[in-house]
Amino acid sequence: MSLPPATGAVELASFQQHVHQFLVQNKRLDGRPLDALREPHILRDSKGGDGLLASTLYTDNTGMCLNCTVSGVFGPPPSDQPDEGRLTVDVAAPFFQSHSTDQVAAALREVARFVRSTIISCMDLTELNIINGEACWVLQVELVILNADGGLRAAALHAVVAAIHNMLLPRSRLPNGDEVESRRLRFHTIPVAVTIGVYKLGASGVRFLMDTNAAEESVVDGLLTVVLSDENGIITFVQSGSYSISSLLLTGAVNEFALRSAALRAAILKPSVAAAKINGSKNSVTDPHPLKEG
């Protein structure tokens, strides 16, 4: 899951040793406490055009940068689910230089699969249906990783959720002349995700790092990715690592994130002030809360 950190001219082993020294003292490179989340900032672009339905730029204060665009076209529904629409997710990392391109490609495919399966667990694809068995909306989500700094699954999911939530499917015309009414997409529950690092301190137990960055992900002994719903139910739970972790610790980590999920969900759905300034005083169709005039 993790893309290796960009250490510049510093050798990776020395960089990891440096991070280890911080973690032994209960410190992190960016000065955060162990249980603090990085605050996401999401810019929305509602200009549209060229078939684009939504576009978001996800950043946080330590360098993660993701661009998400959503396009919509008409297409036939899947033959096994004729009453559903279609959703495709593609992830690209064009600026990532690596000697092991195969591992990077597998990690990006895994992120695409994670985002798609989590989105369809929270949004009813039957909302994209137009004519049963004949026509449906095909949403094409394209994620471009401009800078990766850990927590790739969570950042990708948040960017897509911010783009798709309350997105307007415009009033359109099918090729046979039928008119399709506009509608807004709704999530029945808003997912929030976090990546939790498991750091083993010798024989004195484990320590959890909330919302790891790339440097921490290269030194921790295990990684959890937890996705919670509105009522703090688990949507996705992915754990990997070098050691077995007790189930009590795993459920404790889930409950610890549940305490912070409401604030994170509010940050993801917060309307973008910069986009409002760019668009003047016009109401943005992708904003969940319309801006007040005057």
């Binding site: 495919r109 699969r113 667990s121 029945h188 688990i234 739970f237 690592g241 050691y243 077995s244 189930s247």
Partner: protein
């Protein structure tokens, strides 16, 4: 309350028939063919062998995931959907590759082989549900067959959570072991989540790897997965892993 019945006649806690063959592929250092029911996976291991690479402290792992049968070609408007499903299948292969890579890195003593590469070729012969569990068990048997030193042995268990009532969130959810592909992806047994857990032979409820996913929202029986459900799944997976460890031990006994 109506009892949920499984199409193949199994009870909730019953696993499908298991079959294991090792050392069949003679050109590899170790191989295993493992199946649970109709899900069959072949893993072939090469190495650790010396290789030029920049990691000079530990062995590098290289896992390749292939499928024996890809989605067949389709004409007309279905061709776009077929290409979409193929790309989605490639993403699932990427996820399986990441899962198995982190598993192999956890259990193999990689620091004993600096500047070496351990290569595993995983071929999914047939996928009828519980694919992550079957592939994890297969790669464990292949590593043992190749004589690669491992810290411990593992067993992987797949299960699904089912809604006992036809609607609503009342009632204690039922947990089914070793789901088939139909049980995982349709509403036949009213499932709303699928999970795979990997446990070590040290016992207890310590989990080495986990993967829990709620089913799509458009299914009729979705309900939240609570941390209590997660604990129940951990406990059942620990019990089922003991069955698998007994099976693996009995496979290596000589026939007298």
């Amino acid at each position: 309350m109506a009892t949920i019945s499984r199409r193949d006649g199994r009870t909730a806690r019953e696993m499908r028939g298991k079959e294991l063959r090792t050392s069949d592929l003679s050109q590899f250092d170790g191989s295993a063919w493992y199946s649970q029911g109709l899900t069959a996976v072949t893993v072939a291991i090469n190495g650790p062998t010396a290789a030029r690479q920049e990691n000079y402290r530990r062995c590098t792992t290289c896992i390749h995931v292939n499928r024996a049968a890809r989605i067949p070609q389709e004409g007309g408007t279905g061709r776009l959907i077929m290409m979409e499903r193929r790309e989605r299948e490639r993403c699932e292969d990427g996820e399986l590759k990441q899962f198995l890579t982190s598993l192999v890195e956890a259990i193999v003593c990689l620091d004993r082989f600096p500047r070496c590469v351990l290569e595993a070729h995983v071929t999914v012969l047939m996928d009828d549900g519980a694919l992550f569990a079957v592939a994890s068990n297969a790669i464990m048997c292949a590593l043992l067959d190749a004589g690669v030193p491992c810290r411990s042995t593992i067993a992987a268990v797949s299960l699904i959570m089912c809604n006992p009532e036809a609607s609503g969130n009342e009632g204690e959810p039922e947990i089914f072991l070793d789901p088939t592909a139909v049980e995982e992806s349709t509403d036949e047994v009213r499932s709303y989540a699928s999970a795979t857990f990997v446990l070590t032979n040290t016992g207890g409820e310590a989990v080495l790897a986990s993967r829990v996913q709620a089913r799509p929202r458009s299914s009729a029986y979705s309900r939240p997965i609570t941390p209590k459900d997660l604990s129940r799944m951990f406990a059942l997976a620990a019990k089922a892993a003991e069955t698998l460890f007994v099976f693996f031990r009995n496979c290596s006994m000589a026939l007298e």
